[in-house]
Symmetry: C2
Subunit: 247 residues, 2 copies
């Protein structure tokens, strides 16, 4: 037996859920996994986790952890959970972490945003990308994205209804990849993210790429600390939690 600190890496299609976090009367990914853990261990378990993803947001790599006294090993727990979970949630790996590991204490995360910039919407990417049939200028989008890198107050890119001590975050990098089939990936690598920060940044970068906002204006938006100066909020369906790092 002995106390084990289980670390789960979880991947999910968030389309059919009201987000990651457990809520009353709403389907959540955390809720589905905790239900399965209750069946496995016959005792209620509350997960600690790295990111509270919104309704419709996906993850390749969400991290959760919990402690329990059990003789069950990692491989059997993974098989048991995957056999119970629906097809749109998968436990990618289960490992036993050091006692002090806490999934909540990440030091860096990468989010990926997917844009489909084609004249005709692909029937395979609804709910999985933001379809934009307009002409987008990725050179100016790239130029604008440079102003986001570094330590800034990102209050202008935070949606209402969040209670945080500080709105200062450090963006290590913004990568914009334009694929040959006109699928665009925007990767944002930061020490932390405010409420809907990636979606507000992407919406603003798209407004720049459409010619509605000058790229240099990003500096003024950051300086304003006012959400109303930034662009639209990009839809949830294009957003993926891609990586989470710990010390």
């Amino acid at each position: 037996m002995g106390m084990k600190n289980f670390k789960l890496i979880i991947s999910y299609d968030g389309t059919n859920y009201h987000g990651w976090q457990v809520q009353d009367n709403a389907l959540s990914i955390q809720g589905k996994i905790e239900e399965s853990l209750l069946t496995v261990f016959n005792t209620p378990i509350r997960l600690r986790y790295s990111s509270r993803t919104d309704a419709g947001v996906h993850a390749y790599y969400q991290v959760a952890s919990f402690k329990i006294e059990t003789s069950m090993n990692e491989e059997n727990l993974k098989l048991a959970l995957n056999s119970m979970l629906p097809q749109d949630i998968a436990i990618v790996s289960v490992s036993i972490a050091p006692d002090e590991f806490d999934a909540r204490r990440s030091v860096r995360k990468i989010y990926k945003y997917v844009i489909e910039n084609t004249s005709t919407r692909s029937p395979f990417s609804f709910n999985r990308a933001w379809w934009l049939p307009y002409k987008l200028d990725f050179a100016v989008m790239f130029k604008a994205s440079r102003f986001l890198i570094g330590t800034h107050d990102f209050k202008a890119f935070m949606s209402h209804g969040s209670d945080v001590k500080t709105t200062v975050r450090n963006i290590y990098d913004v990568n914009i990849t334009v694929c040959t089939d006109n699928i665009i990936f925007i990767h944002i690598n930061a020490d932390g993210f405010l409420k809907q920060m990636v979606r507000n940044i992407v919406g603003t970068l798209v407004d720049v790429a459409r010619g509605y906002i000058e790229p240099e204006k990003i500096k003024d938006i950051l300086g304003s600390e006012d959400r109303r100066t930034a662009g639209v909020t990009a839809p949830a369906c294009g957003l993926y939690l891609e990586q989470v790092f710990y010390e």
Copy 2:
């Protein structure tokens, strides 16, 4: 005005449909498009088409054609249809074909089959690939596939309930691509396909790759002209109509 012979290239996710073909009391892709055409032209239109894909089968490139007296141009018809069709059906292109063009008279088609050979199912590929967590030997699968190429009687790979004049077909090529993320594409290029022929071939090739059938046995299966000698029918969700060629 003048009579126009419209040629449509159509892409769809077949998950939510009872197949391509119009049926009473069942949702079909052809039915959805014909409904939209009725709205556009205010007269019932019956499509001619290249392939009657089964329930759950997808297409990147289905071809359909119809004739009508109209002043509407290709681009406006495409926009009108795409604005009415659901998110899982897209009109990729509309063109005006020569009078003698008939979508039914293709001379060659390519189907693609997608296998996900990973220990954990991806939450993004349910309904889009056949998930097989077993060890598969792609070298013997390739060896077996060589016996399929050429002109053969494919009766052993035809599912029951089809009424065709001849069960002889010519397979020009079978390509097996093993991607780094353990996604496998099997492309089959032939002058025509019998009922569920690709799914029966893929199921048999998987039985070979699992070690249940010797690769050389494919010759005997073809010779038997008996469906019971071949392997399982691969599920519809992994199958995509990828290309259709005309003279």
